[in-house]
């Protein structure tokens, strides 16, 4: 499935938060959205879920507007929110089970354990209530849930926040594998290095404008140096860079 933003304008509480951004994520691609706090990254994800409807422009999934059938759009999306939002009174298994059931998909305990193995959540923690979890442990449960949803599209909002370096590396490998299996992945991150490692494309968002886009050459990953420079430059004066593409 293909994700596409078409001159997307989004207003929140009367404020223009996205100012006509356009980009697309093809099937099998990982698109990383970079940008400072308040740039509009999370807002972009929410608009693909239909929580925020465009003031003008379009958020499209397979060329169909999200707003036209929000229910259908959500069926195809696994969404990992910014803060791992799960039930504190349930353990990892119960959380995953409950959300999956609500989504209409069921998984066996073995499946769930498999996914928790993939994110390397300590087995002895799995039957403890989430209120006793660290931030990173929660994040792992949320990631496992997103994987188990087994949808065509993944919207990941800062998936590596709270994870230790090992877990971050493993997560990036996982994301790559999922994309290679044909998933469409839009990922918000502050981790420039990680984004360059895993993404096929990187979009640089500043104050609701897409001020730069970088694509990976065949077989190579995106040059961290270039993205880094563009990022710092955009923070100082965004108008100077526009559609910077690596040579």
């Amino acid at each position: 499935m293909k994700l596409q933003a078409n001159s997307l304008y989004i207003e929140r509480s009367g404020k223009q938060v996205l100012q006509g951004i356009s980009f697309s994520v093809d099937q099998g691609q990982v698109y990383a959205l970079l940008g400072g706090n308040g740039a509009g990254k999370s807002t972009t994800l929410l608009s693909f879920l239909g929580f925020l409807l465009p003031a003008s422009g379009q958020a499209l999934i397979d060329a169909k507007e999200v707003g036209a059938d929000i229910g259908a759009a959500r069926k195809n999306i696994a969404y990992l929110p910014e803060s791992a939002s799960l039930y504190e009174h349930l353990n990892a298994h119960e959380n995953i089970e409950y959300f999956l059931q609500l989504a209409g998909s069921a998984a066996t305990q073995a499946h769930i354990d498999g996914a928790l193995d993939q994110v390397a959540l300590a087995p002895d923690a799995r039957l403890r209530k989430l209120r006793d979890y660290s931030k990173g442990m929660r994040q792992k449960v949320a990631i496992a849930l997103a994987i188990l949803r087994d949808t065509d599209i993944l919207l990941l909002d800062e998936p590596t926040s709270g994870l230790d370096p090992n877990a971050i590396d493993e997560f990036h490998q996982l994301v790559r594998q999922l994309a290679d299996k044909g998933k469409t992945i839009l990922m918000v991150t502050h981790d420039v290095y990680g984004a360059c490692q895993v993404a096929d494309k990187i979009g640089l968002l500043h104050s609701g404008c897409l001020v730069g886009e970088f694509s990976a050459e065949d077989g190579n990953s995106i040059d961290t140096e270039v993205v880094h420079k563009a990022f710092s430059a955009s923070a100082k004066s965004p108008s100077k860079i526009s559609q910077t593409e690596p040579a």
Partner: protein, 478 residues
Amino acid sequence: MKQILLIAAGEWRYWLRSRLALGSAFIFLLLFFVTSVLSSWHIEAQSHSREHHQSEAEDTFLAQPDRHPHRMVHYGHYLFRTAAPLASFDPGLDMVTGQSIFLEGHRQNTVMFAESAASADFGGLSWLSPALIYQLFAPLIIILLAYGSIAREREAAVLAPLMALGVSGHQLIAGKALALLSFILLMLVPLLISSSLALNRGESLNALLLLAGFYFIYLSLWLALSLLASTVFKKRASVLLTLFGLWFGLNLVLPSLAVNAIGSESTAAGKIESDLIMMADLRKLGNGHNASDPAFTKLKADLLAEHGVDNIEELPVNFRGIVAMYSEKKLTKVLNDYANKRMMAELQQEQALVRFGWLSPALAIAAASRAIAGTDLIHYHLFQTQAEAVRFNFVQGLNRAHAEALSYQADINRNKDEDSWKKARVDASNWQVLDEYEFQTAALSERYSNAAQAMRMLLAWLILAIAILFWRGGSIKP
């Protein structure tokens, strides 16, 4: 539908894990149990003393020796009201109206409290009935369970991932409502169990179900209000504050404002005034003890003509007894007119109070509940009307004995000497004028129609709350 059931089950799991449901249920059961015991004990003690007084009053009346019949008219008799089978659940007005009345000639007495050992035992607690637990405290339990249902998940930021799964706002609300409805059904179990005791006292099962149905509507209303607040406000603290405020306003402030507003309309001065007017009206009827009162001249002429005799000594009946019957009848008509007016005024006052149920559902459920239980004003009036019929029959029975069993001669000469005094008596067998009396609660269909207006109010509240909830539910945002 599957989602709704899952959410309901999820809510139950949360309640059980947080001990919220168990704690609330425990507090509720405890309150209910204590009030039920107190209330049945109270009713039991009352009915004991009532039976005791009733039989004592009958025995002493019947044990009176041969006497002048009019002395028995003034000797009088007590009548006691049997408590409605459901009175131990909802004593309603019985708490303030009393249940015994003294019947005598020429007067309609007010209903009094029978002196009973029970009334003193409860101190300030006797107002706390099981019905009041449902009317006042059950909404608090529901608020405690429901206030966080949506707001808690919004605060924990689980609303976004939940709705991203495709769960709609309506499904979310329906799921939470389902869990709460099942809790309400459980809350009604103690009501059904305790009121099932009324089945032994002759109440119908339908009455219990109807009563439970009314409370179900009332508590569902609080459920809807709580869910609504939980959807509208972002923070749980604001939800709780709003709901407590609402509870305080609707259940405590408004009812007492309503009572004050209506109470101040009719003053005690009004009652004294109308009593004086009534006394004047009664005086116009003449003195029934004095057969030569000019008020009875026509009665005398008619009677003489009827029997074709010239003076009252020749009549086959005792003219003084005839006068007593005649004047009791006239007087009773006037007394009844005034009593009807008074009852009408009381009823209007009551209806004015019930009308405040459009503003306060607590007033509406209270009215509906006591109407079904048979402890409302209408039943109080019913008792008075029935007691008056008993009084009239018993006084006229004695007056008939006066007219037919005692000769006019013996009667007028009764004060001459000791011997004449003894002759002016009738046989004690004439005292068998007491009707067998047991107060009966009105038929259920009648009680239901007495409760209909209050039920309409509750339904209107419920429908309105559900409509707003449905409307807001469509626009729930994470």
